[in-house]
């Protein structure tokens, strides 16, 4: 009886151990032989390897100095610290990649959208005092009441001081002839051809693949977009110097597609010009 009892215990122990081993094995198999998990794993390895190659190509110095881990997960948990470092570098040195919709650490950046740089005229409240002066002036064609209120506050001018504005612009205002007025209207109209300037919060965002071609293209377009706003400063100075003359010229351009004959308009009486502007006269 004791023998039988002993062998039963032994059998039971062996069985228990074998059972545990089997469970361990099954657990291993369920992890390592899960085709879907393996597929996801290989996809993530390829994705990260592509990011590393891109990192080395775009930022070779930073790459050689980097101590970021290839294994530890970074802020965006689907990527290693090293890949996260690339995202930060693109954000700092190329264009605002992380500013807008990437607060979620679970986000994937295989495809990404960019945030608009231009003013959202469809739904945002417009703070005229924060706009470039010329941009605010150009809004007389789109939001006349608010724009004239602002211009009246700034320069004591009103719509009645100027010719009537036609409901739609002359077709030639869209010609890309390098004129500042055309540039301003295209900017306001969100029809520059630059994705940073033409997108707004109310339309479906375009999605970009995270690759070298896209990053280089978007970097260039981002610089162009900043330059497009910078260019308005020139127009701002002329409006500031002679608001009546410049607003008349702008309305003329809208109504008839006519550009002022001289680039540096002769100031009307009482116009204030700075030294630089006087030199051009």
């Amino acid at each position: 009886m004791s023998l039988r009892s002993g062998s039963a215990v032994l059998f039971s122990e062996q069985f228990g151990e074998r059972l545990l081993k089997s469970l361990e094995y099954l657990s291993f198999k369920s992890r390592s032989h899960n085709a879907v998990a393996a597929h996801d794993y290989v996809s993530s390895v390829i994705s990260e390897q592509e990011k590393y190659a891109l990192y080395r190509e775009l930022f070779p110095e930073e790459w050689s100095r980097s101590l970021a881990s290839f294994y530890r997960r970074g802020h965006f948990v689907k990527y290693s610290e090293r890949a996260n470092e690339l995202f930060r570098l693109v954000n700092e040195k190329c264009f605002p990649l992380l500013d807008y919709w990437y607060d979620d650490p679970d986000s994937e950046l295989e495809n990404f959208a960019i945030g608009p740089l231009n003013i959202g005229l469809c739904c945002e409240e417009i703070y005229f005092e924060n706009l470039y002066l010329s941009y605010a002036a150009g809004l007389i064609f789109y939001f006349p009441d608010d724009a004239w209120d602002f211009l009246n506050y700034r320069f004591q001018v009103s719509a009645s001081d100027f010719p009537a504005i036609k409901s739609s612009p002359h077709p030639s205002v869209w010609d890309r002839d390098g004129s500042l007025f055309g540039h301003l209207l295209r900017l306001i109209d969100h029809s520059t051809g630059n994705p940073w300037l033409d997108s707004d919060c109310c339309q479906m965002a375009d999605w970009y693949v995270f690759n070298r071609e896209t990053i280089e293209e978007l970097s260039k377009e981002y610089k162009d977009a900043l330059a497009a706003f910078e260019k308005l400063k020139e127009l701002d100075a002329t409006i500031e110097a002679d608001p009546k003359k410049m607003l008349s010229a702008l309305i003329d351009f809208w109504n008839y597609g006519k550009l002022p004959r001289d680039t540096h308009l002769t100031p009307t009486k009482g116009a204030k010009l700075n030294e630089e502007e006087r030199k051009h006269l």
């Binding site: 032989h33 899960n34 085709a35 393996a38 597929h39 794993y41 290989v42 390829i46 190659a53 290839f70």
Partner: protein, 80 residues
Amino acid sequence: MSGESPLMILADETEQINPAILLAEALMRRDAADLLSAEDIDRAEKTLQVGRMEIETIERQLSVFVRSPASPSLNIPTGF
């Protein structure tokens, strides 16, 4: 239709390990700091495609198998 039961059709299928599993194991063993070449990535993407097709095929087979009508077994399990 061959008249074979769904189980027989499944049993006659060639068995193989999904290539994504083999590749995952190989990738898991390598050092992430050793960058893959463009050719390696290209090969891996092709393997992924084959792996994905196999997963889809199996999912389709499973779905058909689940929908197939029940049939009595020839073997009666002990205890019944």
